[in-house]
Symmetry: C2
Subunit: 356 residues, 2 copies
């Protein structure tokens, strides 16, 4: 873009509620372009496919065959900057207040984890080795970015299907590193801290124990992980993957645990694919922030090592958020988590058909 | 439905964050039915059209021609219970805890405000009289429902277009009365209270003053209302309608103000229709809750009369919520609120084209 005025991104805080937004004007389009995003791309061309490495921003990290060069073929998983980043590392982290308003410069990182050179690969049926390489990309990128002390939180997520916000169908995940801890993550951290302060126990570990005792919502398990249909699921067939072992940070997984995670993730995606017939979905990694700032101790972590527990959220996009959700932060879920579990496990034929 | 097991609704609180969901199993469908909701309806038949009154649940309120009977033709605006209610007034408001989990019975009300007998009416170009009748329906239903002291908050919203969650295209709004104050509303109330406690002023009144002084985000105004492109808009072309006069509760509008509100709402919807080419959108009324419970004073309102200020939020559905939003509560907005204002007012040709 030629006009600098429109290249800025900034972070803005709502003056009325604790909610930040990224104003990412470099991603701007005409209003009539929003709907047909997919169609505006040259048909048949995919920048993420093997052989098109020169069409993406430069490679940041990759699993590569020995002797191959960056930005050429020969890779299995490849990480690049997002071509239309919501935040950039070059931006100034200048903070300012304008009357009631608060803003800061659009400092951050926005990367794309291209999960395979193969456009048609489906992560649910990919070899375990491929899934494990994707997880390794998550881990390596998070570890690397955490070295920059200006980052406070790193979000890894995967959008599958256009209705889930994926603008390109080629299998990929994304990562956004933020200069602040987002509100929803703060809420999770506060609940965990509060529970720990009162009970000296991790709330997630307690939850796991409670859910294993009455397995109405236990969908899958292996030796290191379990998959729950959450008690207060925000939508039909939302699932939560939790490690059995207490870990606040997903990069602490042992090599063995990472393989077990690849296995349970594959099984979960297979359920979505086979039982729900391949719905669009979002996958979100919830792990500890980079550092928990406290007054006078900018990097004091408190009890986070003991009170927080990393996990993954998976949300099929089967219902639409409407006015009620926007107004309240409430969700209406038409499938109870217990029926969702029973349906996914093949214990009933359809969620409402037990009487049939 | 024949099986009572599947008729229950309940409210559940997430054990990890302050977030309630309605598990509304009576709205349950098979997973493969979610996508084709519109197509499963008999083509050409609309229960909300004039002449089909017998196909809806019984009429609760209506503007009717003298001498016509409820549930027959002859109405201009008609309110009925939602046929697939998320919450019902018959349900027991039983509260219980199950270990870490909290639930209560699915007590509440879920009504549909059918805005006209005419399937093809577009609220943006409807006569002002019709819009005013719709607002009167909102007001009358809220006033009536507030008499039931078990309700804590009433949400009025309008979903326009399938992508905004409207399952029927016939013009309608909805109302949900809740036994709790939702988290997002609580956040608004807390911010307002905190600001008032420190400054003895309404934060919304302060915001209005600030926005009128530098009108970069002032989209429309008439003598009683103004329309802002909010500083931290959650999405492209989000707008906020605020009364100039301080009022915590929208039912306090004078007759004159209600006409002025009808006028500004119509102008706003016209902008969406003409400038944005009729996008799907959600409209949300944010007004004071029924009562603010305080320890020992279940109906003590505190300073809410002075600190809170009702308003309307309008959100065109031009971007998709994806993994990042689910994970963080953050939003990425690709159109800056200042450009959105300029584009809506015809001051620039396209949001990113000022350099062209």
């Amino acid at each position: 873009m030629s006009n600098a005025t429109f290249e800025f991104s900034e972070l803005r805080k709502d003056p009325l509620v604790e909610r930040w937004v990224i104003i990412a004007a470099s991603r701007g389009k005409r209003p009539d372009q929003f709907k047909e995003e997919a169609e505006t791309k040259p048909p048949g061309f995919c920048p993420f496919c093997g052989g098109n490495e020169h069409t993406t921003p430069p490679e940041i990290w990759a699993v590569r065959a020995p002797g191959t060069l960056p930005n050429t073929p020969g890779w299995d998983v490849r990480v690049v900057q997002n071509k239309f980043p919501a935040l950039t590392i070059e931006a100034d982290l200048q903070r300012s207040g304008i009357g009631l308003m608060d803003r800061m410069g659009g400092f951050g990182a926005h990367e794309v984890i291209i999960e395979t050179p193969d456009h048609e690969m489906d992560l649910a049926v990919a070899p375990l080795e491929q899934i494990n390489m994707v997880l390794e990309a998550y881990r390596q990128r998070v570890l690397d970015l955490r070295r920059d002390k200006r980052f406070r939180h790193i979000v890894v997520f995967r959008n599958f299907g256009a209705a889930a916000g994926a603008s390109l169908p080629h299998p990929h995940s994304q990562l956004i590193a933020l200069p602040i801890v987002p509100q929803l993550v703060k809420s999770l951290l506060s609940s965990a801290l509060e529970h720990y302060s009162r009970k000296e126990r991790c709330i997630f570990c307690d939850l796991i124990e409670q859910e294993l005792a009455i397995p109405d919502r236990l969908v899958l398990e292996n030796q290191d992980f379990l998959v729950l249909s959450p008690f207060a699921a925000r939508g039909p067939f939302e699932l939560q993957i939790l490690p059995r072992r207490h870990m606040h940070d997903f990069t602490l997984m042992s090599e063995h645990e990472q393989w077990a995670f690849a296995d349970i993730l594959k099984q979960t995606l297979m359920l979505y694919r086979d039982v729900l017939k391949n719905p669009p979905y979002n996958m979100m990694l919830q792990t500890a922030p980079c550092a928990v700032p406290r007054p006078g101790h900018p990097e004091y972590w408190g009890t986070i090592e003991y009170d927080y527990h990393w996990h993954v959220e998976l949300m099929p996009r089967l219902t639409k958020q409407a006015g009620f959700e926007w107004a309240t932060g409430f969700y209406i879920n038409p499938v109870s988590p217990e029926l969702a579990k029973a349906y996914l496990r093949g214990e009933i034929e359809e969620p409402q058909a037990a009487s049939a």
